[in-house]
Structures are given as C-alpha cells and as structure tokens.
C-alpha cells in the first residue's frame, strides 16, 4: 500500500540501525509517546536493532490505557440503562471497570454497540429518536476533532437524544508531568505524529527548553521511528534540545487549523485523572458550557461514581517508564489479553498487550 510499504523496507531499516550504532557513544533512554509507535516498535522488533544502551521507554500514549476506572464505572452505569444505546470504539469494551466491563454488560442484555466513527453514533441517534444514544468519547488530540464534529452535528440536527461520555486527554501536560517527576529516566521524546498533525508543534518548544530534552515529532512506520530515533540521539550526542519534525509528510508546524477550531468550539480544557499517573491539571478536554446539554455525566447523573485502581496492576510505573511489563508479577499469568487485570493488557496499543503478543518466547 502506498505510504505504508515503502516505510517498512528492511534494507533501509538495517541502514538506519547501522547509522544509529555509529552515532551513539553513551546510554540514552528515549520515550515514545504514542501507543501506535509502541505497537510498531514491538511488532517489528526495533529495540533489537538498536545498540546496547539505547533504551526505548513506552509512554502513556494509549488513551484506552489511561482512562481511569471511575470513568469506566460511569460508562457501565449509563450503558446498563434500558433506554440507552451505548456506542464505543471496540477497544473500550474489555477494559475492566471495578466489577465488570462493557462486554459483560452487553452480554447481560444492554444495548452496547461498536462503532467505527463517532458520526455513526450521531446517525443512530437520528434514526432512533426513541432511544438515548450515548457515545463514549475517549482519545488524544487526534480523536478530538472527530468527536467535536459529532457533537456539533448533533446540535445542528437538533438531536436531543444524543450525548457523550467524555474522557479526552492531552499529550503535552502528560509530558510535563512525566518530566517533573524526579525519578524520570527519559532523555528524549518521540512525539506522536498524529497528535501533532492536528495540534501542530508549537506546544513542544517550551517543554524542550524548560526540561532540556530533545523532542522529535515522529511517524508510525518502522523507518519513521528509526529516523526519529536517529534525530533524537543526534541531538543528545551533540548536547542540543530542540523540537524537530520527522513526520513532515503529515505534520505542518501550525497543525490542522479547521480541526483545532472545531475542538475549541465544542470542548474546553479541564483537569483530568490519568490511570497510573493520577490527576494532572489542564490535561483533558470536557464539553464546553455551551454544549453541556450533550454531557452524559450530567444527563444520567453519574458524576458521583468514583473508584480506585486494582492494587496488583503496576500500570502506573509502566506508563511512567519505570518498569517493563515483564516486571509485573501478574504479566502473562493472572493477567492476559483474555483476562486482563489492567488496561495496558486490554488495548492492542497497550504496552502489556504488545509484549504479550509479540514477545512471549
């Protein structure tokens, strides 16, 4: 496939690996932010191509993984209501809440549907005026324009039976929180190419400056990741800390202005709870006051539901890069993709599931 296969070429990957070996003189730890990148790194065995001492740390870039248990419990409470048709991306169905997951609630008779796009949920609401259609809106900046458009359309179409359970998260505040942790081992970042496709690169300059870390906006194919790594390591070796863009074919420095306008029309920045990281100020999106009528938390009054994370799961340390999935006593035994204890094992982009799938031997 065009724009895919050419970036998986083995000879070029080997050439990049050689160039990285030639470049590196000291150990470095580089964090990839996005779960899509984690998936590619583990799937293509990119870590094995790197010289000893260059370590990839898997960051918090999987929105499914960082969605807190209490949001799941709220989703379960809403989905179980008889008048509700609950729509979600497929990944969220098996993320465990305190007692159940959405899949269980569905098997108990709730009307839970997997949709490809939030617009499918709007269409359902239009076609079934007698049902309350609720969309579970999780995601990073990449997904926010789509979810914002869904609310905007529902409003345009005058649909009073559509609402959203919003748990949107933002990447730069999470980077800031990770770097502010005195335990951090991260020397440089591969920033998420599709987040920056929407938001542009301007938010990263102040972070690179303040924490003296190179940040390279990077794509998702093996050669993208290897080039992004080369760019970060080159900066580290030369003592620079700048924002650079590897993923030029998709990311402009200003991002996607029409998408940003729609996001700021519908959403406002709010504090958000991150699974494993705790509450981070100004790190999420919620519905703006003008669109409060579409807020499922208010509509179904589930704001009081709160919950704590499973004590066995060390996903917090995994998300911070302090531990690897195999450091978890439950990994592959009490916790597997078929019976996940924590979210990083559920999502195909989660670090634990990626290790389980590609690195069992």
């Amino acid at each position: 496939m065009r724009f895919v296969d050419e970036y998986r070429d083995q000879a070029s990957a080997a050439a990049y690996a050689g160039a990285i070996k030639d470049l590196v003189t000291r150990p470095w730890a580089v964090m990839e932010i996005c779960g899509g990148q984690t998936h590619a790194i583990v799937r293509y065995g990119l870590q094995d191509l790197l010289p000893e001492g260059v370590e990839l740390i898997h960051g918090p870039g999987c929105p499914v993984c960082v969605t807190p248990v209490e949001i799941l419990d709220r989703a379960l409470a809403v989905a179980a209501r008889p008048e509700v048709t609950f729509c979600s991306f497929g990944d969220m169905l098996r993320v465990p809440g305190t007692r159940k997951d959405l899949f269980t609630v569905k098997s108990e008779g709730a009307d839970v549907r997997i949709v490809y796009s939030p617009m499918d949920a709007v269409e359902l609401a239009r076609q079934s005026p007698e049902r309350e259609v609720v969309f579970f809106a999780v995601g990073f900046e990449t997904t926010a324009p789509a979810n914002a458009m869904a609310v905007f359309r529902a409003h345009q179409l005058g649909l009073s039976n559509f609402s959203m359970l919003v748990s949107h998260v933002l990447v730069p505040p999470a980077i800031e929180a990770l770097l502010s942790d005195p335990e951090t081992r991260v020397n440089g970042f591969l920033a998420a190419g599709h987040v920056c496709t929407v938001m542009g690169t301007s938010e990263y300059g102040p972070l690179a400056e303040r924490f003296k870390v190179p940040i390279v906006v990077t794509g998702f194919e093996p050669l993208d990741i290897l080039q992004g790594l080369h760019m970060v390591l080159k900066q580290l070796e030369e003592g620079r800390h700048e924002v650079e863009n590897q993923y030029l074919r998709s990311v402009r420095s200003e991002g996607n202005p029409p998408a940003q306008r729609m996001v700021s029309e519908v959403f406002s920045v709010v504090p958000r709870q991150w699974r494993g990281l705790g509450e981070i100020p100004a790190s999420g999106l919620g519905l703006a006051p003008a669109y409060a009528a579409y807020d499922a938390v208010l509509k179904f009054d589930v704001g009081a539901i709160s919950a704590a994370e499973s004590p066995d799961c060390i996903s917090g340390e995994i998300l911070k890069g302090l531990k690897k999935p195999r450091d978890c006593a439950a990994f592959g035994t009490r916790c597997t993709p078929d019976a996940p204890l924590g979210a990083p094992m559920v999502s195909s982009e989660g670090a634990c599931a990626a290790y389980y799938r590609y690195r069992r031997a």
Partner: protein, 89 residues
Amino acid sequence: MCLSIPGKIVSVADGAQDDLRMGRVAFGGITKEICLAYVPEAEVGDYVIVHVGFAISKLNQEDARQVFTYLAELGDVGELGALDPAQEV
C-alpha cells in the same frame, strides 16, 4: 483505536449530507465513506491520513521521501534506488 491510516481519495461529494464535506477513500482494497471537512484542500487522487472516519491531513508528496533522503545524507546509501516510493501504487 488510535490507528490512523493513509488512504487515497477516490471521490468527493461536496455538500452531500447537509453541507458536511464527505468523500470516498480507498485503503488498499477497501473503500470507506470519510468526512473531509478538515482537509478542505484535498481533492480526488490525494492521499490523506484517516482517523475514526475523518481525514486529518493531506499527505505531502514532496516530503514523503525525506525518510530516504535523510538516510542517504548519512552516507549509507545502500540499495535506495529500488525503494523510490513514486514507483509504488
């Protein structure tokens, strides 16, 4: 869910579905109805990155090769001639 993949616009229906710019995008063999409201500049034949039913960027053909030019500039040119993405469909 975070997956965003490149596809080629095969048709554009401006103003279909009440003013929302929609179009059909081909991903290998599969074609899907995609919202093009966020890529007003993209036309039939352009490649776009698609995420949950929305095109979020038009891929820039000139920048598509920089992964290879950067590598070539590192001095290790290898078999790069065979990898010209312009020859791929």
